[in-house]
Symmetry: C2
Subunit: 272 residues, 2 copies
Protein backbone atom coordinates (compact mmCIF):
# COMPACT_ATOMS: atom_id res chain seq x y z
CA UNK A 1 0.00 0.00 0.00
CA UNK A 2 1.00 3.65 -0.33
CA UNK A 3 3.29 5.33 2.18
CA UNK A 4 2.10 8.38 4.08
CA UNK A 5 5.19 10.29 2.95
CA UNK A 6 3.67 10.41 -0.53
CA UNK A 7 0.32 11.88 0.56
CA UNK A 8 -0.58 15.37 -0.56
CA UNK A 9 -3.64 17.13 0.81
CA UNK A 10 -5.82 18.67 -1.86
CA UNK A 11 -7.44 21.41 0.16
CA UNK A 12 -10.90 20.67 -1.26
CA UNK A 13 -10.90 17.60 0.99
CA UNK A 14 -11.20 19.84 4.05
CA UNK A 15 -13.35 22.52 2.50
CA UNK A 16 -14.36 23.52 6.04
CA UNK A 17 -10.81 24.83 6.59
CA UNK A 18 -9.10 27.95 5.29
CA UNK A 19 -5.75 27.50 3.55
CA UNK A 20 -4.00 28.63 6.73
CA UNK A 21 -5.81 25.93 8.68
CA UNK A 22 -4.95 23.39 5.97
CA UNK A 23 -1.24 24.20 6.16
CA UNK A 24 -1.27 24.03 9.95
CA UNK A 25 -3.24 20.78 9.70
CA UNK A 26 -0.58 19.31 7.42
CA UNK A 27 2.11 20.25 9.94
CA UNK A 28 0.13 18.77 12.83
CA UNK A 29 -0.66 15.53 11.03
CA UNK A 30 2.72 15.08 9.38
CA UNK A 31 1.56 15.58 5.79
CA UNK A 32 4.42 16.50 3.49
CA UNK A 33 2.60 18.22 0.64
CA UNK A 34 -0.44 20.21 -0.29
CA UNK A 35 -2.43 21.23 -3.39
CA UNK A 36 -4.25 24.47 -2.63
CA UNK A 37 -7.22 25.83 -4.54
CA UNK A 38 -6.83 29.34 -5.83
CA UNK A 39 -9.76 30.86 -3.93
CA UNK A 40 -8.18 29.81 -0.65
CA UNK A 41 -4.82 31.09 -1.85
CA UNK A 42 -6.33 34.48 -2.71
CA UNK A 43 -7.97 34.69 0.71
CA UNK A 44 -4.74 34.04 2.55
CA UNK A 45 -2.56 35.97 0.11
CA UNK A 46 0.04 34.27 -2.06
CA UNK A 47 2.97 35.93 -0.27
CA UNK A 48 1.81 34.82 3.16
CA UNK A 49 1.09 31.33 1.83
CA UNK A 50 4.53 31.11 0.26
CA UNK A 51 6.17 32.02 3.54
CA UNK A 52 4.10 29.56 5.58
CA UNK A 53 4.81 26.75 3.11
CA UNK A 54 8.56 27.41 3.10
CA UNK A 55 8.77 27.86 6.88
CA UNK A 56 6.99 24.55 7.45
CA UNK A 57 8.70 22.73 4.60
CA UNK A 58 5.41 21.78 2.95
CA UNK A 59 5.83 20.90 -0.72
CA UNK A 60 3.20 22.04 -3.23
CA UNK A 61 2.29 19.12 -5.46
CA UNK A 62 0.15 21.35 -7.68
CA UNK A 63 -2.00 24.44 -7.81
CA UNK A 64 -5.73 23.90 -8.43
CA UNK A 65 -6.65 25.16 -10.96
CA UNK A 66 -6.38 26.84 -14.31
CA UNK A 67 -8.37 26.02 -17.42
CA UNK A 68 -11.90 26.98 -18.46
CA UNK A 69 -10.58 27.90 -21.89
CA UNK A 70 -13.87 27.75 -23.77
CA UNK A 71 -15.91 30.81 -24.60
CA UNK A 72 -18.45 32.27 -26.98
CA UNK A 73 -16.06 34.78 -28.47
CA UNK A 74 -12.47 35.98 -28.56
CA UNK A 75 -13.03 38.34 -25.66
CA UNK A 76 -14.15 35.53 -23.36
CA UNK A 77 -11.29 33.30 -24.45
CA UNK A 78 -8.73 36.09 -23.95
CA UNK A 79 -10.09 36.81 -20.46
CA UNK A 80 -9.73 33.13 -19.61
CA UNK A 81 -6.17 33.15 -20.92
CA UNK A 82 -5.32 36.20 -18.79
CA UNK A 83 -6.64 34.46 -15.73
CA UNK A 84 -4.62 31.37 -16.60
CA UNK A 85 -1.44 33.43 -16.84
CA UNK A 86 -2.17 34.78 -13.37
CA UNK A 87 -2.61 31.20 -12.18
CA UNK A 88 0.82 30.37 -13.60
CA UNK A 89 2.28 33.36 -11.71
CA UNK A 90 0.67 32.10 -8.51
CA UNK A 91 2.08 28.63 -9.14
CA UNK A 92 5.54 30.19 -9.48
CA UNK A 93 5.06 32.15 -6.28
CA UNK A 94 4.25 29.10 -4.13
CA UNK A 95 6.71 26.75 -5.89
CA UNK A 96 3.96 24.51 -7.20
CA UNK A 97 5.18 21.49 -9.15
CA UNK A 98 2.48 22.04 -11.79
CA UNK A 99 -0.75 23.85 -12.58
CA UNK A 100 -3.81 21.58 -12.87
CA UNK A 101 -6.11 22.40 -15.79
CA UNK A 102 -9.84 21.76 -15.80
CA UNK A 103 -10.27 22.74 -19.39
CA UNK A 104 -13.89 23.91 -19.61
CA UNK A 105 -17.10 22.55 -21.10
CA UNK A 106 -19.51 23.91 -23.67
CA UNK A 107 -19.83 27.69 -23.86
CA UNK A 108 -23.31 28.96 -22.95
CA UNK A 109 -25.89 28.21 -25.67
CA UNK A 110 -23.44 26.01 -27.57
CA UNK A 111 -24.10 22.39 -28.52
CA UNK A 112 -20.86 21.98 -30.45
CA UNK A 113 -18.51 19.87 -28.37
CA UNK A 114 -16.03 19.44 -31.21
CA UNK A 115 -15.61 23.19 -31.38
CA UNK A 116 -15.17 23.36 -27.59
CA UNK A 117 -12.46 20.72 -27.83
CA UNK A 118 -10.66 22.71 -30.51
CA UNK A 119 -10.86 25.82 -28.33
CA UNK A 120 -9.27 23.86 -25.49
CA UNK A 121 -6.35 22.76 -27.65
CA UNK A 122 -5.86 26.34 -28.83
CA UNK A 123 -6.10 27.73 -25.30
CA UNK A 124 -3.58 25.32 -23.84
CA UNK A 125 -1.29 26.02 -26.77
CA UNK A 126 -1.41 29.75 -26.08
CA UNK A 127 -0.94 29.31 -22.34
CA UNK A 128 2.12 27.15 -23.01
CA UNK A 129 3.86 30.12 -24.63
CA UNK A 130 3.80 31.70 -21.20
CA UNK A 131 3.99 28.74 -18.79
CA UNK A 132 7.11 27.37 -20.49
CA UNK A 133 8.97 30.62 -19.79
CA UNK A 134 8.02 30.22 -16.10
CA UNK A 135 8.92 26.52 -15.90
CA UNK A 136 5.43 25.60 -14.69
CA UNK A 137 4.21 22.36 -16.27
CA UNK A 138 0.53 22.27 -17.17
CA UNK A 139 -1.37 19.17 -16.03
CA UNK A 140 -4.46 18.41 -18.08
CA UNK A 141 -6.96 16.62 -15.86
CA UNK A 142 -9.48 14.63 -17.91
CA UNK A 143 -12.81 14.91 -16.12
CA UNK A 144 -15.53 12.27 -15.96
CA UNK A 145 -17.94 12.44 -18.93
CA UNK A 146 -20.71 13.59 -16.57
CA UNK A 147 -18.90 16.96 -16.53
CA UNK A 148 -18.56 17.22 -20.32
CA UNK A 149 -21.23 19.91 -20.65
CA UNK A 150 -20.30 22.27 -17.86
CA UNK A 151 -16.72 21.67 -16.72
CA UNK A 152 -14.49 19.77 -19.10
CA UNK A 153 -14.86 18.51 -22.63
CA UNK A 154 -11.65 16.51 -22.16
CA UNK A 155 -13.12 13.34 -20.71
CA UNK A 156 -10.64 10.57 -21.36
CA UNK A 157 -6.94 9.96 -20.91
CA UNK A 158 -6.72 9.35 -24.64
CA UNK A 159 -7.91 12.87 -25.39
CA UNK A 160 -5.38 14.27 -22.92
CA UNK A 161 -2.59 12.17 -24.42
CA UNK A 162 -3.56 13.34 -27.91
CA UNK A 163 -3.31 16.98 -26.81
CA UNK A 164 0.06 16.35 -25.18
CA UNK A 165 1.33 14.65 -28.34
CA UNK A 166 0.20 17.63 -30.36
CA UNK A 167 1.53 20.39 -28.11
CA UNK A 168 4.82 18.93 -26.93
CA UNK A 169 6.92 19.97 -23.94
CA UNK A 170 5.47 21.69 -20.91
CA UNK A 171 2.15 19.88 -20.77
CA UNK A 172 1.28 16.59 -19.08
CA UNK A 173 -1.59 14.83 -17.35
CA UNK A 174 -3.15 14.66 -13.90
CA UNK A 175 -4.72 11.23 -13.48
CA UNK A 176 -7.68 11.43 -11.11
CA UNK A 177 -9.02 8.01 -10.20
CA UNK A 178 -12.57 9.34 -9.80
CA UNK A 179 -12.69 10.56 -13.38
CA UNK A 180 -11.05 7.70 -15.25
CA UNK A 181 -11.63 4.46 -13.34
CA UNK A 182 -14.40 3.33 -15.73
CA UNK A 183 -12.34 3.84 -18.92
CA UNK A 184 -11.86 0.64 -20.97
CA UNK A 185 -8.55 2.17 -22.15
CA UNK A 186 -7.32 2.95 -18.64
CA UNK A 187 -4.24 0.75 -18.56
CA UNK A 188 -3.29 1.43 -22.16
CA UNK A 189 -3.58 5.20 -21.89
CA UNK A 190 -1.77 5.40 -18.54
CA UNK A 191 1.06 3.48 -20.15
CA UNK A 192 0.97 5.85 -23.10
CA UNK A 193 1.24 8.76 -20.64
CA UNK A 194 4.62 7.51 -19.40
CA UNK A 195 6.89 10.42 -18.58
CA UNK A 196 4.09 12.97 -18.64
CA UNK A 197 2.04 12.02 -15.58
CA UNK A 198 2.23 15.09 -13.37
CA UNK A 199 -0.25 14.09 -10.70
CA UNK A 200 -2.28 11.20 -9.33
CA UNK A 201 -5.46 12.05 -7.40
CA UNK A 202 -7.44 9.60 -5.32
CA UNK A 203 -10.82 9.35 -3.63
CA UNK A 204 -13.58 6.81 -4.23
CA UNK A 205 -16.75 6.32 -6.29
CA UNK A 206 -19.71 5.69 -4.02
CA UNK A 207 -22.60 3.35 -4.84
CA UNK A 208 -24.95 5.09 -4.90
CA UNK A 209 -23.68 8.57 -5.75
CA UNK A 210 -26.27 11.19 -4.80
CA UNK A 211 -24.74 14.29 -6.35
CA UNK A 212 -22.79 14.71 -9.57
CA UNK A 213 -20.21 17.04 -8.03
CA UNK A 214 -20.15 16.91 -4.26
CA UNK A 215 -20.61 13.26 -3.28
CA UNK A 216 -17.18 11.73 -3.68
CA UNK A 217 -16.19 9.01 -1.27
CA UNK A 218 -13.25 8.47 1.07
CA UNK A 219 -10.84 5.82 -0.18
CA UNK A 220 -12.22 2.41 0.76
CA UNK A 221 -15.86 3.47 0.82
CA UNK A 222 -16.45 2.88 -2.88
CA UNK A 223 -15.65 0.63 -5.79
CA UNK A 224 -12.44 1.98 -7.33
CA UNK A 225 -9.51 -0.42 -7.34
CA UNK A 226 -6.99 2.22 -6.22
CA UNK A 227 -3.94 0.02 -5.59
CA UNK A 228 -4.24 -1.37 -9.09
CA UNK A 229 -4.40 2.13 -10.58
CA UNK A 230 -1.47 3.29 -8.41
CA UNK A 231 0.61 0.43 -9.77
CA UNK A 232 -0.30 1.49 -13.32
CA UNK A 233 0.86 5.08 -12.84
CA UNK A 234 3.98 3.89 -11.06
CA UNK A 235 4.75 1.50 -13.89
CA UNK A 236 4.45 4.57 -16.13
CA UNK A 237 7.20 6.24 -14.11
CA UNK A 238 5.18 8.38 -11.73
CA UNK A 239 6.75 8.62 -8.27
CA UNK A 240 5.39 11.97 -7.10
CA UNK A 241 2.89 12.89 -4.43
CA UNK A 242 -0.51 11.24 -4.44
CA UNK A 243 -3.24 13.77 -3.79
CA UNK A 244 -6.38 13.08 -1.84
CA UNK A 245 -9.18 15.19 -3.29
CA UNK A 246 -12.67 14.60 -1.91
CA UNK A 247 -15.67 16.82 -2.58
CA UNK A 248 -18.20 15.68 0.01
CA UNK A 249 -20.72 18.29 0.97
CA UNK A 250 -23.03 16.10 3.04
CA UNK A 251 -20.45 13.92 4.74
CA UNK A 252 -16.77 14.80 5.11
CA UNK A 253 -17.22 18.55 4.83
CA UNK A 254 -19.55 18.36 7.84
CA UNK A 255 -17.01 16.71 10.13
CA UNK A 256 -14.23 18.32 12.17
CA UNK A 257 -11.19 18.83 9.93
CA UNK A 258 -8.88 16.87 12.20
CA UNK A 259 -11.14 13.83 12.03
CA UNK A 260 -11.10 14.03 8.22
CA UNK A 261 -7.29 14.26 8.23
CA UNK A 262 -6.93 11.23 10.51
CA UNK A 263 -9.33 9.15 8.47
CA UNK A 264 -7.68 10.26 5.24
CA UNK A 265 -4.23 9.19 6.43
CA UNK A 266 -5.50 5.87 7.71
CA UNK A 267 -7.42 5.12 4.53
CA UNK A 268 -4.51 6.23 2.37
CA UNK A 269 -2.25 3.71 4.06
CA UNK A 270 -4.88 0.97 3.80
CA UNK A 271 -6.68 1.48 0.48
CA UNK A 272 -4.22 3.24 -1.85
Amino acid sequence: MADKSRLSLNTATVNQWSLEECINGCVRHGIAAIDPWRDGLHNLGADVAREMLIDNDIKVSALCRGGMFTGNNTLECEAALDDNRRAVDEAVKINAQCLVLVVGGLPAESKDINDARQQVRDGIGKLLDYSRTCDIPLAIEPLHPMYAADRSCVNTLRQANDICDELGDGVGIAVDAYHVWWDPDLEKEIKRASGRILGFHVCDWLVSTTDLLLDRGMMGDGIIDLPSMRRMVEAAGFDGFIEVEIFSKKNWWQKPGNEVMETMINRFETYV
Copy 2:
Protein backbone atom coordinates in the same frame (compact mmCIF):
# COMPACT_ATOMS: atom_id res chain seq x y z
CA MET B 1 -36.27 17.70 -38.48
CA ALA B 2 -37.75 14.33 -37.56
CA ASP B 3 -41.24 13.32 -38.62
CA LYS B 4 -43.81 12.40 -35.99
CA SER B 5 -44.48 9.12 -37.76
CA ARG B 6 -41.08 7.94 -36.56
CA LEU B 7 -41.71 8.72 -32.88
CA SER B 8 -41.92 5.85 -30.42
CA LEU B 9 -42.96 6.43 -26.82
CA ASN B 10 -40.69 4.83 -24.30
CA THR B 11 -43.11 4.37 -21.45
CA ALA B 12 -40.60 5.66 -18.87
CA THR B 13 -41.31 9.12 -20.29
CA VAL B 14 -44.80 9.05 -18.77
CA ASN B 15 -43.95 7.09 -15.67
CA GLN B 16 -47.14 8.49 -14.11
CA TRP B 17 -49.14 6.31 -16.52
CA SER B 18 -49.80 2.57 -16.55
CA LEU B 19 -49.03 0.69 -19.76
CA GLU B 20 -52.72 0.68 -20.56
CA GLU B 21 -52.82 4.46 -20.23
CA CYS B 22 -49.67 4.71 -22.35
CA ILE B 23 -51.18 2.66 -25.17
CA ASN B 24 -54.39 4.68 -25.05
CA GLY B 25 -52.32 7.85 -24.96
CA CYS B 26 -50.47 6.77 -28.11
CA VAL B 27 -53.77 6.19 -29.87
CA ARG B 28 -55.13 9.55 -28.73
CA HIS B 29 -52.01 11.48 -29.74
CA GLY B 30 -51.34 9.63 -32.99
CA ILE B 31 -48.11 7.94 -31.87
CA ALA B 32 -47.29 4.93 -34.02
CA ALA B 33 -45.00 2.95 -31.73
CA ILE B 34 -44.14 2.22 -28.13
CA ASP B 35 -41.35 0.71 -26.06
CA PRO B 36 -42.82 -0.65 -22.84
CA TRP B 37 -40.88 -1.42 -19.67
CA ARG B 38 -41.33 -4.91 -18.34
CA ASP B 39 -42.79 -3.94 -14.96
CA GLY B 40 -45.65 -2.16 -16.69
CA LEU B 41 -46.05 -5.10 -19.04
CA HIS B 42 -46.29 -7.51 -16.11
CA ASN B 43 -48.87 -5.32 -14.40
CA LEU B 44 -51.11 -5.23 -17.46
CA GLY B 45 -50.38 -8.81 -18.49
CA ALA B 46 -48.52 -9.63 -21.70
CA ASP B 47 -51.59 -11.22 -23.34
CA VAL B 48 -53.78 -8.21 -22.71
CA ALA B 49 -51.01 -5.89 -23.88
CA ARG B 50 -50.52 -7.91 -27.05
CA GLU B 51 -54.18 -7.66 -27.88
CA MET B 52 -54.37 -3.92 -27.19
CA LEU B 53 -51.28 -3.27 -29.31
CA ILE B 54 -52.58 -5.30 -32.25
CA ASP B 55 -56.09 -3.88 -32.04
CA ASN B 56 -54.74 -0.33 -32.10
CA ASP B 57 -52.00 -1.03 -34.62
CA ILE B 58 -49.25 0.22 -32.31
CA LYS B 59 -45.82 -1.08 -33.27
CA VAL B 60 -43.39 -2.13 -30.54
CA SER B 61 -39.98 -0.61 -31.29
CA ALA B 62 -38.38 -2.54 -28.44
CA LEU B 63 -38.94 -4.11 -25.05
CA CYS B 64 -37.13 -2.48 -22.10
CA ARG B 65 -35.22 -4.30 -20.80
CA GLY B 66 -33.06 -7.37 -20.36
CA GLY B 67 -29.48 -7.45 -19.17
CA MET B 68 -27.98 -7.26 -15.66
CA PHE B 69 -25.74 -10.20 -16.52
CA THR B 70 -23.13 -9.66 -13.82
CA GLY B 71 -23.10 -11.58 -10.56
CA ASN B 72 -20.92 -12.82 -7.75
CA ASN B 73 -21.30 -16.46 -8.65
CA THR B 74 -22.71 -18.91 -11.19
CA LEU B 75 -26.03 -19.05 -9.39
CA GLU B 76 -26.60 -15.31 -9.71
CA CYS B 77 -25.53 -15.32 -13.36
CA GLU B 78 -27.81 -18.24 -14.17
CA ALA B 79 -30.76 -16.53 -12.47
CA ALA B 80 -30.10 -13.43 -14.57
CA LEU B 81 -29.96 -15.56 -17.70
CA ASP B 82 -33.29 -17.19 -16.85
CA ASP B 83 -34.87 -13.80 -16.43
CA ASN B 84 -33.42 -12.68 -19.75
CA ARG B 85 -34.93 -15.69 -21.50
CA ARG B 86 -38.31 -14.72 -20.04
CA ALA B 87 -37.75 -11.19 -21.37
CA VAL B 88 -37.13 -12.68 -24.84
CA ASP B 89 -40.40 -14.61 -24.53
CA GLU B 90 -42.22 -11.42 -23.61
CA ALA B 91 -40.65 -9.64 -26.58
CA VAL B 92 -41.95 -12.41 -28.84
CA LYS B 93 -45.39 -12.14 -27.29
CA ILE B 94 -45.79 -8.42 -28.01
CA ASN B 95 -43.98 -8.50 -31.38
CA ALA B 96 -41.14 -6.30 -30.16
CA GLN B 97 -38.56 -5.44 -32.79
CA CYS B 98 -35.75 -6.06 -30.30
CA LEU B 99 -34.90 -6.51 -26.63
CA VAL B 100 -32.87 -3.68 -25.12
CA LEU B 101 -30.03 -4.80 -22.85
CA VAL B 102 -28.72 -2.80 -19.92
CA VAL B 103 -25.88 -5.13 -19.22
CA GLY B 104 -25.17 -4.66 -15.51
CA GLY B 105 -22.43 -3.04 -13.45
CA LEU B 106 -20.08 -4.35 -10.80
CA PRO B 107 -21.37 -7.22 -8.68
CA ALA B 108 -21.72 -6.31 -4.98
CA GLU B 109 -18.33 -6.03 -3.23
CA SER B 110 -16.45 -6.28 -6.53
CA LYS B 111 -13.96 -3.69 -7.78
CA ASP B 112 -13.03 -5.66 -10.88
CA ILE B 113 -14.62 -3.98 -13.89
CA ASN B 114 -12.65 -6.07 -16.38
CA ASP B 115 -14.16 -9.20 -14.89
CA ALA B 116 -17.63 -7.65 -15.02
CA ARG B 117 -17.11 -6.85 -18.70
CA GLN B 118 -16.10 -10.44 -19.39
CA GLN B 119 -19.22 -11.67 -17.58
CA VAL B 120 -21.32 -9.42 -19.81
CA ARG B 121 -19.81 -10.84 -23.00
CA ASP B 122 -20.38 -14.35 -21.69
CA GLY B 123 -23.94 -13.57 -20.64
CA ILE B 124 -24.94 -12.04 -23.97
CA GLY B 125 -23.31 -14.97 -25.74
CA LYS B 126 -25.41 -17.44 -23.77
CA LEU B 127 -28.61 -15.44 -24.23
CA LEU B 128 -27.99 -15.38 -27.98
CA ASP B 129 -28.28 -19.16 -28.10
CA TYR B 130 -31.90 -18.65 -27.11
CA SER B 131 -32.82 -15.29 -28.62
CA ARG B 132 -31.66 -16.34 -32.08
CA THR B 133 -34.11 -19.24 -32.06
CA CYS B 134 -36.89 -16.74 -31.28
CA ASP B 135 -35.79 -14.17 -33.86
CA ILE B 136 -35.51 -11.44 -31.24
CA PRO B 137 -32.47 -9.22 -31.86
CA LEU B 138 -30.62 -8.10 -28.74
CA ALA B 139 -29.82 -4.39 -28.57
CA ILE B 140 -26.86 -3.54 -26.33
CA GLU B 141 -27.36 -0.05 -24.95
CA PRO B 142 -24.07 1.51 -23.85
CA LEU B 143 -24.81 3.52 -20.73
CA HIS B 144 -23.12 6.75 -19.66
CA PRO B 145 -19.94 6.13 -17.63
CA MET B 146 -21.67 7.55 -14.55
CA TYR B 147 -23.60 4.24 -14.45
CA ALA B 148 -20.51 2.03 -14.78
CA ALA B 149 -20.59 0.91 -11.16
CA ASP B 150 -24.23 0.08 -10.68
CA ARG B 151 -25.98 -0.34 -14.03
CA SER B 152 -23.76 -0.98 -17.01
CA CYS B 153 -20.06 -1.60 -17.47
CA VAL B 154 -20.54 -1.16 -21.22
CA ASN B 155 -20.10 2.60 -21.43
CA THR B 156 -19.08 3.39 -24.99
CA LEU B 157 -20.25 2.55 -28.48
CA ARG B 158 -16.82 1.11 -29.14
CA GLN B 159 -17.27 -1.49 -26.42
CA ALA B 160 -20.69 -2.38 -27.80
CA ASN B 161 -19.31 -2.63 -31.34
CA ASP B 162 -16.50 -4.88 -30.08
CA ILE B 163 -19.01 -7.22 -28.44
CA CYS B 164 -21.11 -7.31 -31.62
CA ASP B 165 -18.02 -8.09 -33.71
CA GLU B 166 -17.17 -10.90 -31.35
CA LEU B 167 -20.62 -12.45 -31.02
CA GLY B 168 -21.97 -12.11 -34.56
CA ASP B 169 -25.57 -12.29 -35.74
CA GLY B 170 -28.50 -11.52 -33.50
CA VAL B 171 -26.96 -8.70 -31.49
CA GLY B 172 -26.84 -4.98 -32.28
CA ILE B 173 -26.83 -1.61 -30.56
CA ALA B 174 -29.32 0.86 -29.14
CA VAL B 175 -27.84 4.34 -29.45
CA ASP B 176 -29.15 6.57 -26.67
CA ALA B 177 -28.16 10.19 -27.14
CA TYR B 178 -28.09 10.82 -23.40
CA HIS B 179 -25.45 8.17 -22.85
CA VAL B 180 -23.10 8.76 -25.76
CA TRP B 181 -23.26 12.44 -26.78
CA TRP B 182 -19.96 13.25 -25.03
CA ASP B 183 -17.97 10.46 -26.71
CA PRO B 184 -15.02 11.71 -28.81
CA ASP B 185 -15.53 8.59 -30.98
CA LEU B 186 -19.25 9.22 -31.51
CA GLU B 187 -19.26 9.68 -35.27
CA LYS B 188 -16.67 7.00 -35.93
CA GLU B 189 -18.38 4.34 -33.79
CA ILE B 190 -21.87 5.11 -35.12
CA LYS B 191 -20.47 4.64 -38.60
CA ARG B 192 -18.85 1.40 -37.47
CA ALA B 193 -22.26 0.27 -36.17
CA SER B 194 -23.77 0.46 -39.67
CA GLY B 195 -26.30 -2.30 -40.16
CA ARG B 196 -26.51 -3.15 -36.48
CA ILE B 197 -28.22 -0.07 -35.03
CA LEU B 198 -31.46 -1.40 -33.59
CA GLY B 199 -32.65 1.69 -31.79
CA PHE B 200 -32.11 5.41 -31.40
CA HIS B 201 -33.24 7.01 -28.14
CA VAL B 202 -33.50 10.73 -27.52
CA CYS B 203 -33.93 13.13 -24.62
CA ASP B 204 -31.59 15.92 -23.51
CA TRP B 205 -28.73 16.57 -21.08
CA LEU B 206 -29.62 19.39 -18.72
CA VAL B 207 -27.16 21.96 -17.42
CA SER B 208 -27.16 21.56 -14.50
CA THR B 209 -28.19 17.94 -13.94
CA THR B 210 -29.38 17.46 -10.35
CA ASP B 211 -29.73 13.68 -10.21
CA LEU B 212 -27.64 10.98 -11.85
CA LEU B 213 -30.65 8.90 -12.87
CA LEU B 214 -33.88 10.84 -12.83
CA ASP B 215 -33.12 14.31 -14.18
CA ARG B 216 -33.10 13.89 -17.93
CA GLY B 217 -34.34 16.75 -20.02
CA MET B 218 -36.96 17.12 -22.73
CA MET B 219 -35.47 17.56 -26.21
CA GLY B 220 -34.50 21.20 -26.63
CA ASP B 221 -33.98 21.91 -22.94
CA GLY B 222 -30.36 20.77 -22.89
CA ILE B 223 -27.13 20.74 -24.83
CA ILE B 224 -27.25 17.63 -27.01
CA ASP B 225 -27.07 18.26 -30.76
CA LEU B 226 -29.81 15.76 -31.59
CA PRO B 227 -30.30 16.52 -35.32
CA SER B 228 -26.62 15.97 -35.89
CA MET B 229 -26.73 12.62 -34.10
CA ARG B 230 -29.89 11.62 -35.96
CA ARG B 231 -28.11 12.27 -39.24
CA MET B 232 -25.21 10.09 -38.09
CA VAL B 233 -27.43 7.09 -37.29
CA GLU B 234 -29.36 7.61 -40.52
CA ALA B 235 -26.11 7.73 -42.50
CA ALA B 236 -25.35 4.40 -40.83
CA GLY B 237 -28.56 2.99 -42.31
CA PHE B 238 -30.94 3.34 -39.39
CA ASP B 239 -34.48 4.20 -40.48
CA GLY B 240 -36.49 2.79 -37.58
CA PHE B 241 -38.49 4.42 -34.83
CA ILE B 242 -36.86 7.08 -32.69
CA GLU B 243 -37.70 6.57 -29.05
CA VAL B 244 -38.24 9.35 -26.59
CA GLU B 245 -37.07 8.16 -23.17
CA ILE B 246 -37.07 10.72 -20.36
CA PHE B 247 -36.57 9.91 -16.69
CA SER B 248 -37.64 13.09 -14.95
CA LYS B 249 -38.82 12.61 -11.40
CA LYS B 250 -39.10 16.24 -10.39
CA ASN B 251 -40.40 17.71 -13.63
CA TRP B 252 -42.10 15.71 -16.38
CA TRP B 253 -43.28 12.87 -14.15
CA GLN B 254 -45.16 15.45 -12.06
CA LYS B 255 -47.18 16.81 -14.99
CA PRO B 256 -50.39 15.45 -16.53
CA GLY B 257 -49.48 12.72 -19.01
CA ASN B 258 -51.29 14.40 -21.88
CA GLU B 259 -49.26 17.56 -21.41
CA VAL B 260 -46.06 15.52 -21.54
CA MET B 261 -47.23 13.80 -24.72
CA GLU B 262 -48.06 17.08 -26.44
CA THR B 263 -44.75 18.66 -25.46
CA MET B 264 -42.88 15.53 -26.51
CA ILE B 265 -44.42 15.53 -29.98
CA ASN B 266 -43.82 19.24 -30.44
CA ARG B 267 -40.21 19.02 -29.30
CA PHE B 268 -39.61 15.91 -31.39
CA GLU B 269 -40.67 17.76 -34.50
CA THR B 270 -38.57 20.81 -33.58
CA TYR B 271 -35.43 19.50 -31.92
CA VAL B 272 -34.81 16.00 -33.29
